[in-house]
Amino acid sequence: MKVNEVPQDDVPDYTEGWLKKGNYALDDKGKYVMVPSKGWVVDEMINRMAYDEYKVKEEETRKAVLAGQKSPLAYYMELRQMTPEILGKTAGIAAFRVKRHLRPEIFAKLKPHVLDSYAKALDITRKELKTVPPNNNPT
């Protein structure tokens, strides 16, 4: 890659934020130099895809919670990009129990101290854990 081939696609997070990625590229004399990049459309697209995938899953779960098919715990787990295994480890609760707690009828009977460990693991309050946002959160 030559210096002038380093992608400079003005991705907003790079130009407005202060993200910066360095690339090594060859200058006119064939020597490697460090060239900061302003983002690359390929990068940007892949990132957007992955992020959208999370968002879609999150939104589906939110609707399922409102429809009474899943417990709010499922929504917050998706929001934090966790799986029952990761959440279980973070909260100190066995993964099979976490999976049970994703069912609304079982979640409703949970004791406060269990809810507290989940709330702490998910970085929200116990009150927030009981419900999900009524509207889609676009960010």
Partner: protein, 346 residues
């Protein structure tokens, strides 16, 4: 480029780097007075690698990595340059945070490994549950900690205590467990030539000699063949999703595919000057060419993914084929490198 004054009055210079771990390592060594470039650290620490890890899943998909395990480059580079290091993981978050505070109060900068999801100073879209990002903690301030992230940020920034604790002690695949590291003392005149030779030999072995078909050049071939078969096996849309995942690991998550090939090429160039060897320089040019093919692979794959609904003119055969070309040329390159290294004198 920004500068910061540390707790003991020393000046720290923030420089952009191409990769988090090598950038951090180079900055840590420079802080101790050993001026060594990022590509040098990458080469000496044998950062170049390929591995397909079907047993570690991320969002339910296997990881293909283009570099060695996070933390290993620092460890290897330090050992080969005669640097004594402090490197510790913690069971208790409290102890881990206390130790970090104690160290930076003395003016010693320390690197930490973190989970990107919990770092709120990044734009929201870049925060994924990935444990393996490294940055340097400079000093404590009213907002928490002042940090320098050479790989992703242009300036130094603040990170709250809460973020820091969550990010360092996140659970899940590849848990950082509060990993914290810094050099205690460096050898001011290390035998760089010897370190380079060790690093290059080790890189060759990593790429050619691991007798498991998931690693090195063999791993590349394995993944390439899988890519070619995906559309039949998984259906077109799912195949695109999997390809996007590889691409994401290649280009975005600091596991760099093409980018790493360029860093390695930069290393070979620098080593070529050091040894006065034109052969190393030729290999550097070859590595650059391979990096360009990896980039082409990324572009072709991105076209496939972009037109996944209409089916584009680019095919999975072409993407997989490019990967096979990379595998073939890298195999050739590392074999040649092995021969060249054998002739070098430290």
């Amino acid at each position: 480029m920004t500068t910061e004054t540390l707790a003991n009055g020393k000046t720290y210079i923030h420089r952009t780097s191409a990769h988090c771990e090598t950038g951090v390592t180079s900055a840590l060594f420079r802080d101790k007075g050993l001026d060594i470039s990022e590509p040098m650290v990458f080469g000496i620490g044998s950062g170049i690698f390929f591995g397909h890890l079907p047993f570690i899943k991320q969002t339910g998909l296997p990881i293909s990595t283009f570099r060695s395990i996070p933390g290993l480059v620092f460890k290897k580079a330090a050992k080969r340059l005669g640097v004594t290091v402090f490197r510790k993981r913690f069971r208790s978050p409290q102890k881990g945070m206390d130790e970090l505070r104690r160290v930076i109060r003395t003016g010693q900068i320390a690197a930490v490994t973190t989970n990107v999801y919990w770092l709120s100073f990044f734009p929201r879209r870049y925060r994924f549950n990935f444990s393996g990002h490294n940055f340097i903690v400079l000093y404590e301030n009213e907002n928490g900690f002042r940090i320098s992230d050479p790989a992703l940020l242009e300036y130094t920034t603040d990170c709250s205590t809460h973020d820091m604790e969550r990010a360092r002690f996140a659970r899940g695949p590849m848990e950082p467990r509060g990993l914290m590291y810094y050099p205690i003392s460096v050898n001011p005149n290390p035998d760089i030539r010897k370190a380079c030779i060790t690093g290059m030999t080790d890189s060759c072995n990593q790429m050619l000699k691991i007798p498991i078909p998931l690693f090195g050049v063999k791993g590349m071939r394995y993944v390439a063949q899988k890519v070619i078969k995906w559309p039949e096996k998984l259906g077109y849309v799912e195949a695109c999703r999997q390809l996007a995942h590889i691409l994401r690991l290649q280009e975005e998550m600091g596991t760099g595919g093409a980018g790493f090939r360029y860093i390695f090429a930069a290393f070979l160039q620098e080593a070529g000057e050091l040894f006065g060897s034109t052969e190393l320089n030729d290999l550097s040019n070859e590595m650059t060419a391979i990096g360009d093919i990896w980039r082409e692979f990324a572009v072709v794959s991105s076209r496939i993914i972009k037109h996944r609904k209409t089916k584009s003119e680019e095919t999975f055969e072409k993407a997989g084929g490019l990967m096979l070309i990379c595998a073939g040329r890298e195999e050739e390159l590392f074999k040649n490198l092995r021969d060249v290294v054998g002739k070098l004198k430290s």
